[in-house]
C-alpha cells in the first residue's frame, strides 16, 4: 500500500494534482461538495442523502411527477420560502395551474418576491433560459410541455452561467429519456404514500432506497 502510494506519487505528480480537483469524482466514496450557500430542502431524509446536504446552489433540478397532487410543490416550498425571505425574486414560468396565494403565503413565501410569467405557449423555455441566465433570480420554476435533450442542456448551461437554481417539473414518463440536469428526482404514489426517489445526482451513486415524502393518512 505504502509502496503503491509512493509509486503513484513519484510516477505522476500531475495526476495527483488532477485527482485533487473537486470536479473529479472517482466513484469510490460519495463526493463531498462544499458549497458557499447551504440550502436545506426542508426534508431531513433528503438532505441526508444529497452530497451538498440540501439543494444545489446552481444548476437544473428535474422533478418528475407521476401526476399532479403528489406533493411536488411541497418539495420546493421550504426552499422558496427561504429564498423569498432573502429578497430574491422567484419566477414561475407558465405554471399549469394558479398558485393559490393564501396557501403560498401561509407556507412562508413572501408574495412580493413571487412572479408569474405568462408566455406564449412555445416560448416558455426561452423565458426560462433568459431568467436563469440573467443571474438575478433566486429560483426559476418551469413546466415545459416539450423539452428535448438539447433545450434542457441550454437551460442547464444558462443556470450554471447565471449561477441560479432552476426547477423543471415534468411527467414521470420523461424519466426514461436522458437528461443533462445534475439532479433528477421522481415522485410516485405507493401504498404507503408519495415516494421520492433520486434518479440521478452528480457526486453520488443514486441511492436505491426511496424517501417517503407524504405518508398516506390512516
Amino acid at each position: 500500500m505504502r509502496a503503491g502510494q509512493a509509486g503513484m506519487n513519484s510516477l505522476s505528480p500531475t495526476l495527483t494534482a488532477l485527482l485533487g480537483n473537486p470536479l473529479i469524482w472517482r466513484g469510490t466514496k460519495p463526493a463531498v461538495v462544499q458549497q458557499a450557500v447551504h440550502r436545506p430542502t426542508g426534508f431531513e431524509e433528503l438532505d441526508a442523502v444529497l452530497p451538498m446536504r440540501g439543494w444545489p446552489a446552481t444548476g437544473l433540478v428535474e422533478i418528475l411527477s407521476a401526476a399532479p397532487g403528489l406533493g411536488e410543490l411541497s418539495l420546493v416550498l421550504p426552499m422558496l420560502a427561504g429564498l423569498s425571505a432573502q429578497q430574491k425574486p422567484i419566477v414561475m414560468v407558465a405554471p399549469p395551474y394558479r398558485p393559490y396565494a393564501p396557501t403560498w403565503h401561509c407556507a412562508g413565501i413572501r408574495l412580493g418576491q413571487l412572479y408569474l410569467a405568462e408566455t406564449h405557449t412555445d416560448q416558455g423555455l426561452w423565458a426560462m433560459e433568459k431568467a436563469l441566465r440573467s443571474g438575478c433570480c433566486g429560483a426559476v420554476l418551469g413546466w415545459p410541455a416539450q423539452a428535448d435533450d438539447r433545450s434542457l442542456r441550454r437551460l442547464q448551461v444558462a443556470a450554471e452561467g447565471g449561477q441560479t437554481l432552476g426547477f423543471i417539473f415534468r411527467a414521470l414518463g420523461a424519466a426514461r429519456a436522458p437528461s443533462p440536469a445534475p439532479l433528477r428526482l421522481s415522485l410516485e404514489a405507493k401504498p404507503q404514500g408519495s415516494v421520492l426517489q433520486i434518479l440521478k445526482c452528480r457526486g453520488i451513486h443514486p441511492p436505491s432506497g426511496s424517501i417517503l415524502l407524504r405518508p398516506t393518512a390512516h
Binding site: G69, G71, Y97, L114, C136
Partner: protein
C-alpha cells in the same frame, strides 16, 4: 465672470436653409400681411441679385424675376432659439437669451472643463458650423459688453475691464444695441463710436436721455450688476429626427433611436430624473404617424436599458409604411428614487437586474405577462386571490383551514372514483351580495393514483360526481 456671446445674424434664414435641398438658389423670407409683403431675410444668392431685407415683394420681383420665397415663421424661429439654448446648456449652466439673436453663456466656470478659451471657442464654432448656423463670437467680462462686441466684431476678446475699455472704444454706435432713436439722436450730436459716448459726462447724458442710457453704460463697463432671467431647459423631452430617405425595415431605425435615447439619457442625468412613460413616433410620408407608447414599471435613465426595451418593442412592430422621421417624446419625467447600495451586499452574478429582466419579458409577451398574486378577503376560492402587476406591500398573515397549493382556474368535473375522504366537509357559502353566490361542501380527498385533491359537491347533493378545484401538490 466671463461672458461669451454668440450673435446669430441670420437665425431665421439659417433655420430654413439647414433643411433646404438647394440652399444656393436665391431664397427670401417674407413677412407682413398678404397685401403688403416685405422681405425679411435673404440668402447670399438673393443678396447678390440686389435683394435686401425691408424691400417690398413687388420691388424684389422687379430686381429679380424668379426666386423662392417662404413665409417667415416666428414660431419656428423660437424653436431654433430654444434648440440653440439647449445646445449651449451643454457648455454652461448659465445660458441667457438676449433679444432674438444673441445667446449668452457664462463660461468662467466652464473653462476648467472645456478651456482654455481658444480651444473652447474652436469647439463652439465647430458645433455651430456643424449645426448650420452663422455666428459671431465675442468674450467679455460683462454680459452687456459681450453682446455688443459679438454684434460689432466677430472674435473680439476682453478678459478684464481694462482690456474691455480698449476693445469697446472702437465699436460704432450702430452695434451698441441701443434703441435706434437714441443712436440717431447721438449721431445728431456728432457721436459715432462708444469711445466718444463714454467720454461724455454721465449727468448730462442722464438729463438728456433718461436713466436708461447711463444704466446701460454702467452695465457695459461692469460698474453695475446686471440682472437677467436665465434660460431653463424645458421640462419635457421632445426630439425629432428626419431622414432624407425612406426606411422600410426596423433595423436601420435602431441606430438613430439609440442616439435619441442617448440624448434622453444625458438630459435625464443632468436633471437627476428618470423616465417611465414615453412615446416613440414613426413618421410616414402620407399616413398618420405610428405611435409606439412605452411604459415601464419603474423610472430609469439608463440609455442602454431604454434602448433594450424600445428595441424589443420595435422588433414586434409591423411597419405600415416607409418611415421618414423618428420622434421621441417624454412628458413625464419623475424624479428617480435614490438608490442605496449595501457595501457588503453579495454581488449579483449576471449583468442584469430583475427590473431589466421583467421589462424584457413584458416587452416580449405583453404588459401583463409578469404578474404577482395576493390573497383577497373572500371566502369563495375563485375570489380569494388577486393578480397585480406590482405588489407594493406584503399582505398580512392569515390563518387558514387547509387549502391546496394549486387552484384550478375553474372547477372541473372529477369522474374518477375517490379512494378516501381525508377531511371534510367544509361548507363554503358566500357571495349572496354580488349574485355570484354558491353553497358548497369542500372535501380533501385521496385519489386512487395517490393524489390529494380539493373537491366539492353543491350542498344537498350526496352522491354523484365531484368537482375538482385544487391540488395539494
Amino acid at each position: 465672470m466671463l461672458w461669451a456671446a454668440i450673435f446669430l445674424p441670420q437665425l431665421a434664414l439659417d433655420g430654413v436653409l439647414r433643411r433646404h435641398a438647394a440652399p444656393e438658389a436665391p431664397l427670401v423670407l417674407l413677412q407682413g400681411s398678404d397685401q403688403h409683403r416685405i422681405v425679411f431675410a435673404v440668402n447670399p444668392a438673393a443678396q447678390a441679385a440686389g435683394l435686401r431685407p425691408g424691400l417690398s415683394l413687388n420691388a424684389a420681383l422687379a430686381l429679380l424675376p424668379s426666386f423662392e420665397s417662404l413665409p417667415y415663421n416666428p414660431q419656428e424661429f423660437l424653436q431654433y432659439q430654444e434648440f440653440l439654448a439647449a445646445w449651449a446648456y451643454r457648455y454652461s449652466s448659465l445660458v441667457y437669451l438676449d433679444g432674438s439673436d444673441i445667446l449668452l453663456l457664462e463660461i468662467e466656470a466652464s473653462l476648467g472643463l472645456f478651456g482654455p478659451w481658444p480651444k473652447f471657442e474652436h469647439q463652439l464654432r465647430a458645433d455651430l458650423t456643424a449645426l448650420g448656423f452663422h455666428h459671431q463670437l465675442a468674450l467679455a467680462p460683462t454680459a452687456r459688453a459681450a453682446c455688443v462686441l459679438a454684434t460689432a466684431h466677430d472674435g473680439a476678446l476682453a478678459f478684464d475691464r481694462t482690456q474691455l475699455r480698449k476693445v469697446l472704444a472702437a465699436v460704432p454706435l450702430q452695434a451698441t444695441r441701443l434703441p435706434s432713436a437714441q443712436i440717431a439722436a447721438l449721431a445728431g450730436m456728432g457721436i459715432r463710436t462708444l469711445q466718444q459716448l463714454l467720454a461724455l459726462p454721465r449727468t448730462g447724458l442722464t438729463h438728456r436721455f433718461g436713466s436708461g442710457l447711463s444704466i446701460y453704460l454702467e452695465e457695459l463697463l461692469g460698474d453695475r450688476i446686471e440682472i437677467r432671467d436665465c434660460y431653463r431647459p424645458p421640462d419635457v423631452f421632445d426630439l425629432k429626427l428626419e431622414f432624407n430617405y425612406e426606411i422600410v425595415e426596423y433595423r436601420p431605425l435602431l441606430f438613430p433611436l439609440k442616439r435619441l435615447l442617448g440624448d434622453l439619457g444625458v438630459y435625464l442625468e443632468q436633471r437627476d430624473e428618470g423616465v417611465q412613460h414615453f412615446e416613440v413616433r414613426l413618421f410616414h410620408a402620407e399616413q398618420e404617424p405610428t405611435s409606439l407608447p412605452i411604459g415601464l414599471l419603474s423610472p430609469t435613465r439608463d440609455a442602454s436599458q431604454l434602448y433594450e426595451f424600445c428595441r424589443s418593442r420595435l422588433e414586434q412592430l409591423v411597419l405600415p409604411a416607409a418611415v421618414r422621421g423618428l420622434q421621441l417624446c417624454a412628458h413625464e419625467l419623475p424624479p428617480l428614487p435614490a438608490t442605496t447600495r449595501d457595501l457588503f451586499a453579495p454581488e449579483t452574478n449576471g449583468s442584469m437586474t430583475w427590473e431589466i429582466l421583467r421589462e424584457r419579458l413584458r416587452a416580449k409577451f405583453g404588459n401583463n405577462a409578469v404578474m404577482q398574486i395576493l390573497p383577497h378577503a373572500d371566502a369563495r376560492p375563485e375570489y380569494s386571490m388577486r393578480t397585480v402587476v406590482q405588489l407594493t406591500e406584503e399582505p398580512p398573515s392569515l390563518a387558514l383551514p387547509p387549502r391546496p397549493t394549486w387552484l384550478l382556474p375553474a372547477p372541473v368535473l372529477w369522474e374518477e372514483n375517490i379512494k378516501k375522504i381525508l377531511k371534510g366537509p367544509e361548507r363554503i357559502e358566500a357571495g349572496w351580495w354580488d349574485g355570484e353566490d354558491f353553497r358548497r361542501d369542500y372535501y380533501i380527498i385521496q385519489t386512487y393514483r395517490g393524489q390529494i385533491a380539493w373537491v366539492f359537491r353543491p350542498v344537498g347533493i350526496k352522491t354523484g360526481p365531484w368537482m375538482l378545484h385544487g391540488w395539494f401538490a
